[in-house]
């Protein structure tokens, strides 16, 4: 990891102080016609925090970020970024943020360097700092050798890095990254995260969306959004311990394929899957004890090495929360009829 230029680390000390919220949403709402894409979302992100926004496709993640960045006007509620109101002071906000959109949005017909120069000008980086910032971005993104390439000729991963580079070029205190690592190979993703950590250590607040569960684990705090509503938020550990309505067990046994079939067929099993050579089973709370599983399997002649209750994975939590939400809504619809 290479060091950031000084401008980035100036308020590193502030991590010691109690952190004030820098992104605040209160009942934020966005409707498109009579479709509600973001429904009364309330949350806070503190300075220097890495906040992960998770949710299935179409949940409203991008829409939320776009409202915070002043690209879309909210239709209800309020929000503030860096202390500025998103409806009334969007231009003030824009001086304090970097944004990387989900869809690549730099100029494909310009070269790497020309894109960087363009944004240097737009962000009014002082002339004496420009060269230094440019080199920093090129190095950070590993694009030094490709500085003269047309952006259109770069592969997906390189484009993402350049986009991130241009988003942090002006050293903004808050950055919004909408699926920054989609289409990036695992190694580059690791580098990407090193950089994000590095920025956060320097006091930069990171608000990002992702579909990758391993990335969610790297976040300080997470928010889960589903059909426009924020249905859970907290640190990854909080989510795993507080929100999981089911028990999660891990079973090590012989003939895992056969065991999987047996267990899936049992009543009260939410979900079971093979996880390496082990079975990962989500069962209704208190419905089945580890001992019962052992008995069921051994009755069928499958030797069982171990059955233990484990901490759910984030994926378990999300699937569980979403299913619970679907059941609840289904019930409400029934009731309404």
């Amino acid at each position: 990891m290479m060091p950031a230029p000084e401008s980035y680390v100036t308020d590193g000390h502030s991590t010691q102080e109690p952190r004030q919220p820098v992104v605040v949403l209160r009942d934020l709402e966005k409707r498109f016609g009579d479709f509600t894409a973001v429904n009364k979302v309330t949350l806070e992100v503190r300075k220097g925090e890495i906040f992960g926004f998770l949710g299935p496709n179409g949940a409203g993640k991008s829409t939320t970020i776009r409202m915070l960045c002043g690209i879309l006007q909210p239709t209800g509620g309020m929000g503030s970024v860096a202390g500025f109101d998103i409806t009334r002071q969007p231009e003030e906000i824009k001086k304090n943020i970097g944004y990387m959109s989900q869809r690549f949005s730099l100029y494909e017909d310009l070269t790497v360097e020309e894109n960087i120069d363009f944004y240097s000008g737009i962000y009014q980086i002082p002339a004496d700092k420009r060269a230094e910032r440019k080199e920093w971005v090129l190095r950070m993104a590993g694009l030094e050798e490709r500085r003269l390439s047309r952006t259109a000729t770069l592969s997906g991963g390189w484009k993402q890095r350049l986009a991130l580079g241009c988003a942090v070029l002006h050293a903004p205190p808050i950055i919004f990254l909408d699926e920054p690592t989609s289409g990036v190979d695992p190694l580059s993703r690791r580098n990407f995260w090193d950089l994000i950590y590095h920025l956060a250590e320097g006091g930069v607040t990171v608000f990002l969306t992702t579909h990758y569960m391993d990335e969610a684990e790297y976040c300080d705090r997470l928010g889960l959004i589903y059909r426009g509503e924020l249905i859970a938020q907290g640190t990854p550990d909080e989510l795993k311990t507080r929100y999981m309505a089911e028990d999660v067990m891990e079973i090590a046994c012989a003939k895992p394929q056969e065991a999987l079939r047996l267990i899936t067929a049992l009543p009260g099993i939410g979900y079971a899957s093979l996880f390496g050579s082990k079975l990962h089973v989500v069962a209704e709370k208190g419905e089945r004890t580890p001992e019962e599983f052992r008995q069921v399997l051994e009755r069928e002649g499958i030797p069982t090495e171990s059955v233990e209750r484990v901490l759910p994975s984030l994926e378990d939590v999300f699937v569980s929360l979403i299913e619970a939400r679907d059941r609840q809504e289904g019930a409400q619809r029934e009731f309404a009829r």
């Binding site: 776009r66 960045c69 002043g70 879309l72 944004y99 869809r103 730099l106 000008g121 737009i122 962000y123």
Partner: protein, 375 residues
């Protein structure tokens, strides 16, 4: 402010000149248009293909036919022998006029009785037919004068002053060459089509390819963005004016009698309107295709109602009033008068004022509609 505008301009120019399609639009199209209007579009009526159907075949009839043939307006195509052939030639469009002389033409002239010559015209192109009829009338009246003079001379009378003789001199375009009229006007056409079409794509293109989203989250100001998007087209407009003017003057020998500076000044005023319209279209469109359609939707009536090809004075009165809203109308007058009449601002100021007011309204309206969000 300057940093951002400069960054915008650098980027816009790189993009404009890197794109081969753009280079084509910028350089090839103006040259092509000039050549088309310089060579192909020719509304001068000369050498009209004419068939002769002489049933008389006397000295007198041959004399009259000869006068037609010697004028530069008519050229003999064929001596027709049969009635059906006349129809055939006109039907096929081989000739546009037929001169027909009845039997007894010469005898009538000799005995001083009225004689008739028939001129059959292809009236499909009513404009040309009218002009041809005018030429024929001149030739025939000349012939009449000569015949009566001769007759009087025969009786020993020297004719006195022969009444009124019309002497026509065309000012500003002495030889009435349509090229002189159309080639300068090509400037107006090209400047309008190119600047409006390109500027109508400018903003919507960024919306369509997604780069607008990134622009919106930068602190760039509305005016910096708009100027960045329009100033390059002002320059492109000027380059077009220079190109077409050079071609007109050096290649087609169209006279440029007025001030080149005034021509550019008028262009700048006109660009306010055309870029204003372009910007407006770009702001309200969602796709480039939509923008292009809207631009053409405006361009065609603007051209038809500008006086470029069809004189405004011949239009119905309500339509004439409508043309006052058409910036091209003013610009065409400015261009043609600077080229052919060489007049200055003392004559052209009403046109310039019209353009300035119209342009300012359109441009500021477009700017007021521009929003730095995607909603």
């Amino acid at each position: 402010m300057m940093d951002r505008l400069k960054a915008m301009l650098v980027k816009e120019f790189i993009q404009a000149f890197r794109d081969p399609r753009m280079r084509f639009i910028l350089l090839v199209i103006p040259i092509m248009q000039t050549i088309i209007f310089g060579y192909a579009v020719n509304t001068d009526v000369t050498d009209v293909a004419t068939a002769v159907y002489d049933l008389d075949n006397s000295r007198e009839s041959r004399d009259l036919i000869d006068r037609f043939a010697r004028s530069e307006y008519f050229s003999e195509y064929e001596y027709v022998q049969r009635e059906e052939r006349v129809r055939e030639l006109l039907d096929r469009g081989d000739v546009r006029a037929v001169i027909r002389l009845e039997r007894g033409f010469g005898a009538a002239i000799r005995s001083g009785r009225p004689a008739a010559v028939q001129l059959l015209l292809d009236g499909t192109d009513s404009n040309t037919a009218g002009i041809v009829a005018g030429y024929a009338a001149t030739i025939v009246s000349r012939y009449n004068i000569d015949v009566s003079t001769q007759r009087l001379a025969h009786r020993g009378i020297v004719p006195g002053p022969a009444g009124v003789r019309l002497e026509t001199r065309a000012w500003f375009n002495e030889n009435l060459e349509s090229r002189n009229y159309y080639v300068p006007a090509v400037i107006a056409n090209i400047v309008m089509v190119i600047t409006m079409l390109l500027s109508s794509m400018a903003v919507v293109r960024e919306k369509e390819i997604g780069t607008m989203e990134q622009m919106i989250v930068t602190p760039i100001g509305k005016w910096e963005f708009i100027l960045g998007k329009t100033v390059p087209f002002v320059l492109i407009g000027f380059i077009n004016v220079a190109l077409v003017t050079a071609a007109a003057v050096f290649w087609f020998k169209v006279p440029l009698r007025g001030s080149l500076f005034l021509l550019f000044f008028g262009t700048a005023l006109f660009l306010l309107s055309s870029l204003g319209f372009g910007l407006f279209i770009s702001t309200v469109s969602h796709t480039q295709q939509q923008a292009m359609m809207s631009a053409f939707f405006f361009l065609f009536p603007a051209m038809l109602l500008s006086g470029f090809a069809f004189p405004i004075a011949n239009m119905p009165e309500p339509v004439q009033w409508l043309t006052y809203l058409n910036p091209l109308r003013y610009y065409l007058v400015i261009i043609r008068e600077i080229f052919l009449k060489g007049v200055g601002i003392e004559i052209l100021w009403p046109q310039m004022a019209g353009l300035a007011i119209l342009g300012a309204c359109i441009f500021f309206f477009a700017v007021s509609r521009f929003r730095k969000t995607l909603s």
